[in-house]
C-alpha cells in the first residue's frame, strides 16, 4: 500500500499554472526523488507536501490520511531546506530542540533526544556553537539533525546538497543514503542533479513545466525513457539523439543515419520495437547512450544485437577512466564512450560498436517513445 500519495495535484499562482495534475505515490520506507530543470515545479510540489503552500486541486495523503488542509506542523513531516534555514540567534542544540520546545516537550527529554541525534550525526561537539561558527557541511548536518529529531513519517529534502562544494556533496550524498538505510523513513527529495537522483532514489519522478514526464525506478528511467526530454535529461553525458530514417531491407527493418560526405550508416535491427514498423520511410530519433556506443573490443559481450560501423572521429576527450570520442551522425555530434586505453586519433576513422539492444526510438513530432 502506498504511504505517501499525491493524487492529480494542481497548483496555480493567479493564472499561472505551476503544477498540472501530478499523480505520484511512494511506499513506506521509499526514497522518492523529484528531478527536473529549474522552474519545473519540483520545489513547489515539495512545499505543497509540506503544507507551506496551499494547493489548488487534487489531494495529498500520508499513510491514508488526507492532509490537504492540515498545518505543516500537524502533518508529521520534517524538512531540510536548501539554505539549511538554521535559526541564527540560537545555538545548535537550541536549533535542534526548537520544535520540541514549541510542542512543550519537557527539558530532560529534549536534551536526551538532542544528544542522541547529535551523536548519530557526529555533531555532539558543536552543540553550543551558533550557526555562523559552523562550516557548510556542519550546518548541513545540523539541518538534518533538526529534521531527524522529530522522528517524522516523511522527510522532505529541498536540494540539500546544492550549496556544498563538489567533494563534500558526494560525501553527504553517501551519508544521506546511509541514514535512509538505517532509519527506513520515507523520504521525498528534490534535486536538479540527475546523478543525485540516480544514486539515491528508489523511485524517480521527472518533471518539466509542471507535468510529470515519467515516474519509475532509476533503471526504468535510465533504460526506458518514455520521451526525448527524459532521455536527454537523465544521464551524463546525455543520450545521443540522432535524426535517422527507418527502412526495410530484405530480412527486416534497418535504421539509416546520414553522414557528411560519406555514404549513410545502415544498421540492421534484429529486435525492433513493434511500433517502429509504422515509421517505415519516415524520420525517427534514434537514441543511444554513450556507453552503448563503444570500441568493438569494449562492447558488451552479453548484448544480443551489436552492429559495427566505421565512423569519422572528430574529437577525443580522455577522462581517465574512459575516453570519450565525438563523431557526427545525422548532422549532430554523437558521443561514444570508449575504454580508457582505446587507441584512437582525432581525424581518423575508427569502427564503433552500436549496442542495438539498448537503443531506443522516438517520434520526432510528438517526442514520445516508439514502443
Amino acid at each position: 500500500m502506498p504511504f505517501l500519495e499525491i493524487d492529480n495535484l494542481e497548483k496555480s499562482y493567479g493564472s499561472a499554472k505551476i503544477l498540472k495534475g501530478v499523480t505520484l505515490d511512494i511506499e513506506e520506507g521509499g526514497f522518492l526523488v523529484l528531478v527536473g530543470p529549474s522552474g519545473c515545479g519540483k520545489s513547489t510540489l515539495l512545499n505543497t507536501i509540506a503544507g507551506l503552500e496551499p494547493i489548488t486541486g487534487g489531494e495529498i495523503r500520508i499513510n491514508g490520511q488526507r492532509v490537504n488542509d492540515l498545518h505543516p506542523s500537524k502533518r508529521d513531516i520534517a524538512m531540510v531546506f536548501q539554505s539549511y534555514a538554521l535559526y541564527p540567534n540560537m545555538t545548535v542544540a537550541q536549533n535542534i530542540g526548537f520544535g520540541m520546545e514549541i510542542r512543550g516537550v519537557p527539558k530532560p527529554e529534549r536534551d536526551k533526544a538532542i544528544a542522541e541525534v547529535s551523536q548519530l550525526l557526529q555533531i555532539d561537539h558543536l552543540l553550543d556553537r551558533k550557526p555562523s561558527q559552523l562550516s557548510g557541511g556542519q550546518r548541513q548536518r545540523v539541518a538534518m539533525g533538526r529534521a531527524l529529531v522529530r522522528k517524522p513519517q516523511v522527510f522532505l529534502f529541498d536540494e540539500p546538497l546544492s550549496n556544498l562544494d563538489a567533494k563534500l556533496r558526494i560525501d553527504m550524498r553517501t551519508e544521506i543514503k546511509r541514514l535512509h538505510q538505517r532509519m527506513g523513513t520515507t523520504i521525498v527529495y528534490v534535486t536538479h542533479d540527475q546523478i543525485e537522483a540516480m544514486t539515491l532514489a528508489s523511485k524517480i519522478a521527472v518533471l518539466k513545466d509542471g507535468i510529470l514526464q515519467q515516474f519509475g525506478t532509476p533503471s526504468e528511467i535510465y533504460n526506458n525513457p518514455s520521451n526525448m526530454f527524459v532521455a536527454d535529461f537523465m544521464g551524463s553525458p546525455a543520450m545521443n539523439l540522432i535524426p535517422a530514417t527507418v527502412a526495410m531491407n530484405g530480412k527486416g527493418l534497418e535504421v539509416v543515419m546520414e553522414r557528411e560526405a560519406r555514404e549513410p550508416i545502415k544498421l540492421p535491427l534484429a529486435s525492433a520495437p513493434a511500433g517502429l514498423g509504422a515509421f517505415q520511410g519516415k524520420k525517427v530519433m534514434f537514441g543511444v547512450r554513450p556507453e552503448a556506443l563503444t570500441d568493438p573490443g569494449g562492447a558488451d559481450r552479453d548484448a544480443k544485437a551489436v552492429a559495427t560501423a566505421d565512423c569519422h572521429i572528430e574529437v577525443v576527450e580522455p577522462a581517465g577512466s574512459d575516453t570519450f570520442a565525438v563523431t557526427n551522425l545525422g548532422g549532430k555530434p554523437v558521443v561514444a564512450r570508449l575504454r580508457a586505453d582505446a587507441h584512437i586519433q582525432p581525424g581518423s576513422n575508427a569502427p564503433l560498436a552500436f549496442n542495438l539492444s539498448k537503443a531506443v526510438f522516438f517520434d520526432p513530432a510528438t517526442e514520445q517513445r516508439i514502443v
Binding site: A50, L52, H71, P72, S73, I77, A78, M79, F81, Q82, S83, A85, Y87, P88, N89, F98, G99, I102, R103, R146
Partner: protein, 293 residues
C-alpha cells in the same frame, strides 16, 4: 629616479591630506560655533553677555542660568523652569516610540512574510504617510482627538506621534525583513511555531540594527516636534519644545539670554545623548539590508 618620484608622490600626498583636513576642520568649526556660543554664554552672568563679546569665555563661571532654566525660570504664567515639561516630553516620547516601533515591526513582518492579496497596495499607502506634511493632518487630527476625548492630554500626543511615525517604522522594518530569509519562517512553521512565536523567537532577535535605527529616528523626531506639541497640548501636557519657546517669549522686561541658552541645550541634550551612544549602530543599521550577503 624612482626614489625621487616617490618623494614627490609622498609630498603631494601630504599636501592633499593637509588640504582635506583644513577644509574638514573649517567646516567642523563652522558647525560647532553655535554650540560653542550657547555653551559659553549659558555659563556667564547676564551682565557679561550684555557688555561683552559673545565669543569670549566667561570671566566669572556660573551654573546659575542652568539651575534657573531647569527649575525656576518663568514659563508662561508660572515660574517652574523646564523640569515639568521635560517630564511631559519623556512621558510622551517613550510610549510613542515604543508603540510605533512595535507596530512597525509587526507591519514589516506581515508585509514580507505573511503576504496577502493587495499587500503592495497597503504598503504603498503606508509609504505615502511618510510624505504627508504635518500641517495637512492638523485639523483632522484635532477632530479625532476631540472625539476620543484625548485633546490636550499626553496620551493624545502619544497617539498622534505613534500614528504619524507608523509610516516610517513600517518602511524601515519592511525593507529589513524583505532581506530576511523566508526559509527560516517556513522552518519555524514546520517546527510548529505560531505567528507571534515566529515573530518573537526568530525575527526579533535578529532585528537589533533596525530597531536601533527606528528608535533613534522616532525619538529624535518626536522629541524635537513643535507643531503637534503646540497644537494638541494644554497647560499640563506641554512638551519641552513648546515650553522652551514659552521660556524665550515670556520675558519680564530683561531677556535672560544665558537662561535661554541653558534651556535650549537642556532641550537638545537627550537627542544628543541618543546619537552619541548609538550613532554607529545607526549607520550600520541603515546599511543593513541595503547590501545583501
Amino acid at each position: 629616479m624612482s626614489a625621487a618620484s616617490q618623494d614627490v608622490a609622498t609630498r603631494n600626498g601630504i599636501f592633499a591630506r593637509a588640504a582635506i583636513y583644513a577644509v574638514l576642520i573649517l567646516f567642523a568649526v563652522y558647525y560647532l560655533l553655535p554650540l560653542y556660543v550657547m555653551l559659553v554664554n549659558s555659563l556667564k552672568p547676564l551682565d557679561e553677555i550684555r557688555h561683552g563679546n559673545m565669543l569670549a569665555l566667561p570671566h566669572e563661571w556660573t551654573i546659575a542660568p542652568w539651575l534657573s532654566a531647569w527649575s525656576t525660570a518663568q514659563i508662561g504664567v508660572s515660574p517652574t523652569g523646564l523640569k515639568p515639561y521635560f517630564l511631559n516630553s519623556v512621558m510622551m516620547v517613550v510610549p510613542a516610540v515604543a508603540i510605533s516601533t512595535i507596530l512597525g515591526a509587526l507591519n514589516g513582518y506581515v508585509l514580507t512574510k505573511w503576504r496577502f492579496r493587495g499587500d503592495t497596495v497597503v504598503f504603498g499607502m503606508m509609504l505615502l504617510a511618510c510624505f504627508i506634511p504635518f500641517q495637512i493632518v492638523l485639523i483632522p487630527s484635532a477632530r479625532i482627538l476631540g472625539l476620543l476625548h484625548l485633546a490636550g492630554t499626553v496620551p493624545g500626543l502619544v497617539l498622534i506621534h505613534a500614528i504619524y511615525g507608523l509610516g516610517f517604522t513600517t518602511l524601515f522594518f519592511r525593507n529589513y525583513y524583505e532581506a530576511f530569509p523566508t526559509e527560516l519562517v517556513r522552518a519555524a512553521q514546520i517546527d510548529g511555531a505560531s505567528f507571534f512565536q515566529i515573530f518573537r523567537r526568530i525575527l526579533l532577535p535578529s532585528s537589533a540594527p533596525i530597531i536601533v535605527v527606528t528608535v533613534i529616528w522616532q525619538f529624535t523626531n518626536i522629541w524635537n516636534d513643535f507643531l503637534f506639541g503646540s497644537s494638541f497640548s494644554s497647560v499640563d501636557s506641554i512638551p519641552l519644545t513648546v515650553a522652551l519657546n514659552n521660556l524665550v517669549n515670556s520675558s519680564t522686561g530683561v531677556k535672560e539670554y544665558n537662561v535661554h541658552f541653558a534651556g535650549a541645550i537642556l532641550a537638545a541634550l537627550p537627542t544628543l545623548i541618543v546619537y552619541i551612544v548609538s550613532g554607529r549602530y545607526f549607520v550600520r543599521g541603515l546599511m543593513a539590508g541595503a547590501v545583501k550577503g
